[in-house]
Symmetry: C2
Subunit: 255 residues, 2 copies
């Protein structure tokens, strides 16, 4: 059987520990091509680079794997991966991550990791974004790798019937304490922002974004709750943002 | 009756003609605060600025309106608007645009205009993103303004029952040829990319993203079709990206 072609990307940058872990798993399962940002791109969401040219450079980082670093966003990486690096070959699977930190709930909107996977899914490629609930640059990805492999194998064998995209978050737990995988929905939630205000040497104010994540949505089927209970959360996700219920109601159309 | 508070932003930058048109309409309907990017931010999607500090500067651009330009993304503008500029006042409505160019179909994912409106909707604010199907910097916004005012009045009076966010696209037509507004769903579509390859003076390659928009989804209820038929398309949109159908099927969980 022909080896599956797996496109790997992330948003923490090509030298992050998380993508190394993901490449190690992917190498066991297929032919791997890496196209990932040359610098951290967390919080870039679905941004693409319109006003600047993009750079692509072959790098020798992962043993036995063709890898390219890209000056753009995670979504740019997928577009360049598909159209420039792979030319007309379509990957069998795109995996993004393993992100250093959570992408549960509404964080899918801000996440470069998930937007990269979303972009590949728009191209008809089965795609998975993986995140570990540990922001540490030196996080331990070994327990995560076991489950990442299990899920990737399953998706390569069975395909993502119906959907095209999974948002997978993995709790920061030792392997023996991870209870399994659970299919969830995206928790409703929000960020309560606080801005740190400072003054530069010229006397001008500037702001750093900070904030705390708030969810009250703790039913058993929510991704936040699954993780709190020691499960890996899997949210099948999609690019259709239509609010069909609101469209049916559309009271605001009446005058 | 107290005047409603209206937060105005965009992604083409605070000096764009489209935001001027939107401010002119908003001023008739309430108290207006503008927080918009100091430079073009098209294609920024839901990006936020994590690795750099943000600047905010009061500017005197719109007569009788408090306006601030921000060094960040459209989503940063909404966050800074809410937490720094407005402090604890919650806007009654957030409007974003009027974008120079279409944001139909999957373009909602890439659009800074729509992500800004989405961000305000996450904060519980009724939000509308407006786009005119004309990329021209000097586009004629006069016909659009008539309909923008009509819709804003209606939403301020009735509220967005159920939903919180509208994606509104306006055809490039003379006023008398616009047939009305139509509630639609987001067309399924994709971009077929092409990258222009060039070589810089140092002999290094670089790439510009280009591409063509493709949709085969032309049922009467799709936003693309409504616009082609001379209607303004209104897609009620939301931040829950869960693919509930795929979650129910989830065949890929079986081994």
């Amino acid at each position: 059987m022909k080896k599956p072609l797996i496109l790997v990307t992330n948003d923490d940058g090509i030298t992050a520990k998380g993508i190394k872990a993901l490449v190690e798993v992917a190498k066991k399962l297929g032919e791997v091509i890496v196209v990932a940002p040359d610098s951290p791109q967390s919080g870039m969401g679905h941004a693409i680079t319109i006003h600047d040219p993009l750079r692509l450079k072959k790098v020798d980082i992962f043993e036995g794997v063709d890898a390219y670093e890209c000056s753009g966003t995670p979504v740019d990486c997928v577009k360049l991966g598909k159209y420039v690096v792979l030319k007309n070959r379509t990957p069998d699977l795109c995996v993004s991550g393993i992100n250093h930190g959570s992408n549960v709930a509404i964080n899918i909107l801000y996440s470069g990791t998930m937007s990269a996977a979303m972009e590949a899914s728009l191209e008809g490629v089965d795609s998975i974004g993986f995140s570990l609930l540990d922001f540490n640059a030196d996080a331990d990805f070994e327990p995560a790798k076991v489950w990442v492999e299990k899920l990737m194998r399953s998706v390569l064998e069975n395909g993502l019937k119906g959907g095209k995209l999974l948002n997978v978050n993995i709790p920061k737990l030792p392997l023996e304490e991870i209870k399994g995988m659970k299919v969830c929905y995206q928790s409703d939630s929000r960020w309560v922002e606080e801005f740190q205000e400072n003054t530069d040497p010229m006397g001008n104010k500037y702001y750093w974004i900070t904030g705390s994540f708030v969810t009250n949505d703790l039913t058993d089927e929510s991704d936040v709750r699954a993780l709190e209970s020691g499960y890996i959360s899997i949210v099948p996700s999609m690019h259709d943002l239509t609010d069909y219920q609101a469209a049916r109601d559309s009271k605001w159309m009446e005058e």
